[in-house]
């Protein structure tokens, strides 16, 4: 339950390729082209030309199909894209309002992802609610130079002592990956010590092309560590839907 999983980008790519290889091509190459052409007729000419590169019909014989949506942002072009951290903490994980999310990094990344519009949360009766909170290790120069793992562990301890949450998540920002703080190890250690799930995400902002890399990192972690981990089956009234969040803006 406390084992943390974050694939490196190579691993993720290999995994994706494997899936593509195994799948059957839904259409022939001719059909592929005509399908895309069909779709883009709805757009004005200029947009259609651009959009065409963003649409790919999966072809089982071509494992390395390129899709423009997965290209890196051109430097200097003002982009709507965010970062992996934004996708992981800001979009997918933060709305879990009954656990505590600690941003390991300098102050900004946490501040900008603090209770933004996406953070909708309705606590259950008697349930915990931390949605108004924004926790960070607020790293300073000393932490960058000498490492921030100690501070992170203290932060986890403080959050636990103050709020007694059932779970804590830890999110890495760019500088953390660069200085090589072992947040997985810290999370594991604190999880064993506190007896609650402490899950860490290596969602450093420079990973991937946009926030979508963070959606994957978050979802992988949640599926791996949380889903199915609860032995009790509590009945939730009304209809419930499981929804994996992807491709949303922050």
């Amino acid at each position: 339950m406390t084992e943390n999983y974050t694939p490196t980008s190579e691993q993720a790519a290999a995994q994706a390729n494997e899936t593509v290889m195994r799948s059957q091509s839904p259409v022939s190459p001719e059909q592929t082209t005509s399908t895309v052409e069909d779709i883009i007729t709805a757009y004005p000419k200029k947009v259609a030309k651009k959009r065409a590169k963003h649409i790919v019909v999966r072809d089982g014989n071509e494992p390395t199909q390129e899709i423009q949506a997965n290209a890196r942002t051109t430097p200097g072009i003002i982009t709507q894209r965010g970062c992996a951290f934004a996708g992981c903490k800001g979009v997918v994980v933060a709305p879990f309002g009954d656990c505590i999310h600690i941003v390991h990094g300098p102050v900004g990344c946490s501040y900008y992802s603090w209770l933004t519009r996406r953070n909708q949360f309705k606590p259950r009766e008697e349930g915990q609610n931390f949605i108004h909170y924004c926790f960070t290790t607020d790293m300073n120069e000393h932490d960058i130079v000498f490492g921030g793992v100690g501070k992170l562990k203290t932060a986890i301890q403080e959050a636990y002592d103050t709020f007694h949450p059932k779970a804590i998540t830890v999110h890495a920002t760019c500088p953390v990956g660069l200085i090589g703080d072992d947040i997985q190890g810290a999370a594991k250690e604190m999880s064993d010590k506190l007896g609650i799930s402490v899950m860490s995400f290596n969602c450093e902002g420079y990973k991937g092309v946009s926030q979508s890399a963070g959606h994957h990192i978050a979802n992988n972690g949640i599926f791996k560590n949380w889903i199915g981990a609860d032995q009790e089956t509590e009945e939730i009234p009304g209809y419930t839907v499981n929804h994996e969040v992807r491709r949303t803006s922050c």
């Binding site: 603090w114 007694h164 500088p175």
Partner: protein
């Protein structure tokens, strides 16, 4: 807020930060760069920071702000971001036809140690013949400092890199015929404040350079055509001539105490007399500002302002019975807190706690300077504080109102007391960018709002609901 705090009496010194009362350095840099004519702010780092800051700035100013980025990836984080920076600047030139690009670093590029000045030097060597925009760079690692330090560092970098320059091979800085009389370096104030300062200079009949001036760029009129870079901002040519001015007026007592400001650079390098003032909020700080304008310009304060001053004094008298003895908590960036505290002290409201996420080391002395002659009990002054600590401190203080940014709302809601919104960010009310804080007029507005907040609370709490107060 459902926190269940243990009943400890001794306050803990937290290592972590819960609900920060500060933003990060490059955000300040972006706002400052946006106040320069035809300038595109550019973050050398990964793109997330730029997107986050854009979104955050928009939520306050309700105005688009384009911030370019080097969009560094894992690979660049290892091999350095130089090539991306150069590519990025070329793209900004092409897409925006910017006359200036203001480059700030982020935590990422500071951590990997990218040498931006060196990259820019190489860039100039390589592309110098293409009619380059003016390039100004500033180091803004957030792991040391807040958005305010980023803002001030940017202003200083602009002065350092542009003032007195005439023969830059980048863009022609045509000398202007009007020599500025004064420079005003106001700090992170609202667009409305900046407009008010411009009016004051105009009414004094003097030319002045306000750096930066985002009154138009971050609060622009609606136009039929979308302008990629909105009109307005301090012209680069004016900045280049700031050393010709008779004086520099720089706001911020905490800033002044750091001894490391743009205004001081103008004094030390170009012998421009430097006046360090508090933000002109409240009668006394405004008087100092207007008196300084009188000495530097040789002009008397126009009647319009003496009249306003008189009306403000009159209001202080009229409103005193409603507000005297009320207790207030002030929080936010240090210099605004100092100014608001100075104002509260003179109107009879007791500031009980002044808290900031900043850690300049000068907050206490600045608060003492503006309160010691007016208050019998000095307020608690806390640097490096977050909202969790403010909430803990408040339990004993029982304030009647809060004054600060939108981030105090959960606290005000919990305590059921009014929150007077000032400063940045204000994103749960409309018109944050048009909040006037400065001058007799700004003080008047704050005063009226404060009195009304107290009256409204009184009315709401009353079982009778009196309608004549």
């Amino acid at each position: 807020m459902t926190k269940t705090k243990s009943n400890q009496t001794n306050k803990t010194n937290y290592v972590s930060t819960t609900n920060a009362c500060k933003l990060c350095k490059p955000l300040g840099a972006c706002i400052a760069f946006r106040g320069i004519e035809n300038c595109v702010p550019y973050l050398h780092g990964s793109q997330g920071c730029a997107t986050y800051m854009r979104r955050y700035i928009i939520s306050h100013f309700r105005e688009p702000i384009d911030i370019a980025s080097s969009s560094l990836s894992e690979k660049h984080a290892v091999y350095g971001g130089g090539p991306n920076l150069k590519k990025g600047i070329l793209n900004v030139m092409e897409k925006y036809e910017a006359k200036m690009v203001g480059i700030a670093t982020t935590c990422l590029t500071e951590t990997i140690g990218d040498d931006v000045p060196q990259f820019l030097y190489e860039f100039n060597e390589e592309f110098g013949d293409q009619g380059l925009p003016t390039l100004v760079n500033v180091a803004t690692p957030s792991y040391s400092g807040t958005h305010m330090e980023g803002f001030h560092a940017t202003v200083k970098a602009v002065i350092d890199q542009l003032v007195g320059k005439t023969d830059m091979n980048t863009i022609a800085i045509a000398p202007k015929t009007i020599i500025p009389n004064v420079n005003i370096i106001p700090g992170l104030v609202s667009p409305e404040d900046l407009r008010h300062l411009r009016d004051i200079l105009e009414d004094f009949g003097i030319a002045g350079t306000i750096l930066p001036d985002y009154s138009d760029t971050l609060d622009a009129p609606a136009t039929d055509e979308y302008a990629k870079i909105p009109e307005g901002g301090t012209p680069v040519a004016d900045i280049a001539q700031m050393h010709q001015a008779k004086a520099t007026l720089e706001f911020g007592r905490v800033l002044a105490a750091t001894g490391n400001t743009g205004g001081e650079l103008l004094r030390d390098r170009h012998s421009v007399p430097h006046y360090a003032l508090g933000l002109p909020i409240g009668l006394r700080e405004c008087d100092r500002f207007f008196a300084t304008l009188e000495t530097t310009t040789g002009q008397p304060t126009p009647r319009k302002y003496t009249q306003r001053r008189g009306r403000l004094v009159d209001a202080y008298v009229d409103g005193h019975k409603y507000i005297f003895g009320k207790k207030a908590v002030v929080y936010g960036e240090e210099d605004l807190c100092v100014a608001i505290t100075a104002f509260l002290a003179e109107i009879g409201v007791k500031p009980v706690l002044c808290a900031s996420g900043g850690k300049s080391g000068h907050f206490q002395e600045a608060i003492t300077a503006v309160t010691q002659e007016l208050l019998r009990e000095p307020p608690l002054v806390k640097e490096g504080f977050d909202f969790y600590e403010i909430a803990e401190e408040i339990e004993q203080l029982q304030p009647d109102l809060l004054i600060g940014t939108s981030k105090g709302y959960p606290l005000a809601r919990k305590l059921q007391i009014p929150l007077l919104r000032v400063g940045f960010p204000i994103h749960d009310r409309f018109g944050g960018q048009r909040t006037l804080h400065l001058g007799y007029q700004g003080t008047q507005r704050l005063y009226d709002q404060l009195v009304n907040a107290v009256l409204e609370k009184k009315q709401a709490d009353s079982p009778v609901g009196y309608g004549y107060l």
